[in-house]
């Protein structure tokens, strides 16, 4: 049963209440249920512009969650994850344009392609550890971008346009391909990703094995865990999800270019969202995703510059890594307390004793 916790000042503050809630066995169900209802009703109160923003936020939460699977839960920092987003988009584009198929098979094939590529890449690459894995995945993703810029089938340096007719979806949709429609698709995908993460990574033996790999791979191996297989499974799963999001994104935005959907910024953003929110937690990508996404959109609107989100994200990454490596969730659940941050700052100040 959840114990009543009081914070340092002896009062039942916000943190104590949050702790008490999250300690409940069914907290998850309530939270998820509330989220489903909220997201289902949200478009009713939003105009097209804001629906689009919400759609974007949902996509990034889902993408961040997918990176969190391999980066946060498994501890393998994948710096090429964005490539699968782009691959999903381009495969869907190719399927729809060159094979003249509707979107639904395009989506499915994007998932299959993502899985196949992730398997082929994962088997050799996951043998590398730490920095080497990061560099290798980064190089792989950059190579994919270059390839897309060269090949004719992806449109080369011109990019690729996807069909915009409502009939291209495959089944009739009431209201056509509106922002609201895409909103619901993203919401479904996003909610599904979060639910999947929860069931597979937080509450199953498989999830414990994944985290064991992260915490101490050798020990995990010595305890009968087939670490190679576990890593591969998480990696493929996380990449398929990224590919699916890429597919929907491509169909929504109708024009994709390698520098956008295969650019390193996609990965950068996923990484910072999870870091800021809290690596390896279920709420981290949600909190971090919403924060970073809204921050970048707002900064474009209110600070006038369309590129100012870039240095802002850079600064955010640095700040989080410096002072709150467990992210916002870490701050909320007490892993990083105010005292920890203070201690952190002091230690950093000490380091300036250079001369």
């Amino acid at each position: 049963m959840s114990a009543e916790r009081t914070d340092e000042s002896g009062q039942r503050g916000l943190r104590a209440r949050v702790d008490a809630f999250t300690a409940r066995e069914d907290a998850w169900k309530w939270t998820f249920g509330a989220a489903v209802v909220l997201l289902a009703l949200l478009p009713l109160g939003l105009n097209s512009f804001w629906t689009r923003i919400a759609l974007g936020a949902l996509m990034w939460v889902g993408l961040a969650q997918s990176w969190n699977m391999i980066g946060g839960y498994a501890g393998y920092l994948d710096f090429g994850h964005g490539a699968y987003f782009g691959v999903g988009g381009f495969v869907t584009g190719i399927v729809m344009v060159k094979l003249s198929l509707p979107f639904i098979p395009g989506l499915l094939l994007a998932g299959v392609a993502g899985a196949a590529l992730a398997y082929v890449i994962g088997v050799p690459t996951l043998r590398l550890k730490g920095s080497y894995f990061a560099i290798a995945t980064w190089a792989f993703a950059e190579a994919m971008k270059q390839l897309a810029l060269i090949l004719g089938i992806t449109g080369g340096t011109f990019g690729m346009s996807l069909p915009t007719a409502a009939s291209s979806f495959g089944i009739p949709i009431p209201g056509g391909l509106s922002e609201t429609f895409f909103y619901y698709v993203m919401a479904a995908l996003s909610l599904g990703t979060v639910l999947l993460s929860y069931l597979v990574l937080e509450h199953s033996e498989f999830g414990y094995r994944v985290q064991a790999v992260r915490d101490d791979e050798n020990a995990a191996e010595s305890l009968g865990i087939d670490t190679t297989r576990v890593k591969r499974q998480v990696y493929v799963l996380s990449c398929v999800i990224a590919a699916l999001f890429g597919s929907v994104y491509a169909y929504h935005i109708t024009f994709i270019h390698p520098n956008d959907v295969l650019g390193s910024l996609i990965t950068d953003q996923m990484v910072i969202m999870v870091l800021l929110g809290g690596l390896g937690t279920i709420y981290g990508p949600v909190v971090g995703g919403l924060t970073v996404f809204l921050l970048s959109r707002m900064s474009s609107l209110f600070l006038g510059s369309s590129t100012i989100y870039l240095p802002l994200i850079g600064v955010l990454i640095m700040l989080v890594v410096l002072f709150a490596p467990s992210g916002i969730v870490g701050l909320l659940n007490g892993q990083t307390s105010r005292a920890d941050v203070k201690k952190n700052v002091h230690e950093l100040a000490d380091k300036f004793d250079l001369l």
């Binding site: 080497y132 100012i308 870039l310 990454i317 410096l322 490596p325």
Partner: protein
């Protein structure tokens, strides 16, 4: 051998000279700070941009700004290092990887800030040296600036090697790279030397940047290419193995030169990245197997 071939080869060697500067610094940072600096290309970009902005503002010849850029970025690097050190040590999850992520942040910030403040356009650095050329009869015509750049590359490498192997400071840095714990026990002020090392790296790399800006141009997006180059050099040589970097830097310059002249330049970058990836998978300690192990 045709004149074109020789000319291409020598151009490649000249280019290699400056690439080595970047690669050596990058490799040193890995050895001393145990950090893979994803911002290496951005230091190049910052140097090039500083050159462009300062020549436009002050009206001086770009070459005179070389020492200015060096000092400026040495100082910047010197004071950035403690942050990096803080991130890679201490009680936090995955410290060394966090260092890598931190440099990702630096890179994103640098690129984004320059883009936001100065806009996306390419700029050039004015200098008297960019117009002249040296003619070697029977061999070819070589732009003066490339020769000067290569000379700088060689000179800086020699000075760097001298510092590392013949001075107390250099010995301290090598000791730290070799065995940090024992270096500390020997009374070496780790923090100071780490800052010196990172400052020197930033200064050198930015200076290489201003030369590259003189040869080509400066643009906010140019960093990625040089990050790729640095990784290429260091992965092929094996992370931490300095002599190998010198060789792979020259190889890089020559290959780039030849591909630009004889093959389509389209495939250059794909090949670079693909090679980095393949070498990491197949021989993570570098082609000669002398670098640090990958596990």
């Amino acid at each position: 051998m045709s004149e074109l071939f020789t000319q291409t080869l020598i151009n490649g060697l000249l280019l290699g000279g400056i690439y080595v500067t970047v690669g050596v610094g990058f490799s040193l940072v890995f050895g001393v700070l145990e950090v893979v600096d994803f911002a290496v290309g951005e230091w190049v970009m910052l140097g090039a941009f500083a050159g462009a902005v300062l020549t436009a503002a002050l009206g001086t010849d770009g070459l005179y700004l070389v020492p200015v850029v060096f000092v400026l970025f040495f100082v910047v690097g010197f004071f950035v290092q403690p942050f990096l050190h803080h991130v890679t040590t201490g009680d936090r999850p995955m410290p060394l990887l966090m260092g890598l992520v931190f440099t990702f942040g630096i890179a994103t910030f640098a690129r984004g800030a320059v883009l936001t403040i100065f806009g996306p356009n390419t700029r050039s650095i004015t200098s008297g040296a960019t117009s002249g050329a040296i003619t070697l009869s029977g061999i070819g015509v070589f732009p003066t600036i490339r020769v000067i750049t290569a000379a700088f590359g060689v000179l800086s490498l020699l000075v760097f090697m001298y510092y590392l192997y013949r001075t107390k400071g250099g010995m301290a840095i090598r000791a730290i790279a070799e065995d940090r714990t024992n270096a500390r026990l020997m009374g070496i002020n780790i923090r100071r030397y780490q800052s010196i090392a990172y400052g020197a790296y930033a200064g050198l790399t930015a200076t290489a940047g201003i030369f590259i800006g003189l040869i080509y141009t400066a643009s906010p997006g140019m960093g990625l290419q040089y990050t790729a180059f640095a990784f290429f050099m260091v992965v092929l040589a094996g992370l931490g193995y300095l002599p190998g970097v010198i060789l792979s830097g020259i190889v890089l310059g020559v290959v780039q030169s030849f591909v630009a002249v004889y093959v389509s330049s389209q495939w250059v970058f794909f090949s670079l990245f693909a090679l980095i990836y393949v070498v990491l998978l197949v021989s993570p300690a570098g082609l000669l197997g002398k670098g640090e192990a990958a596990t």
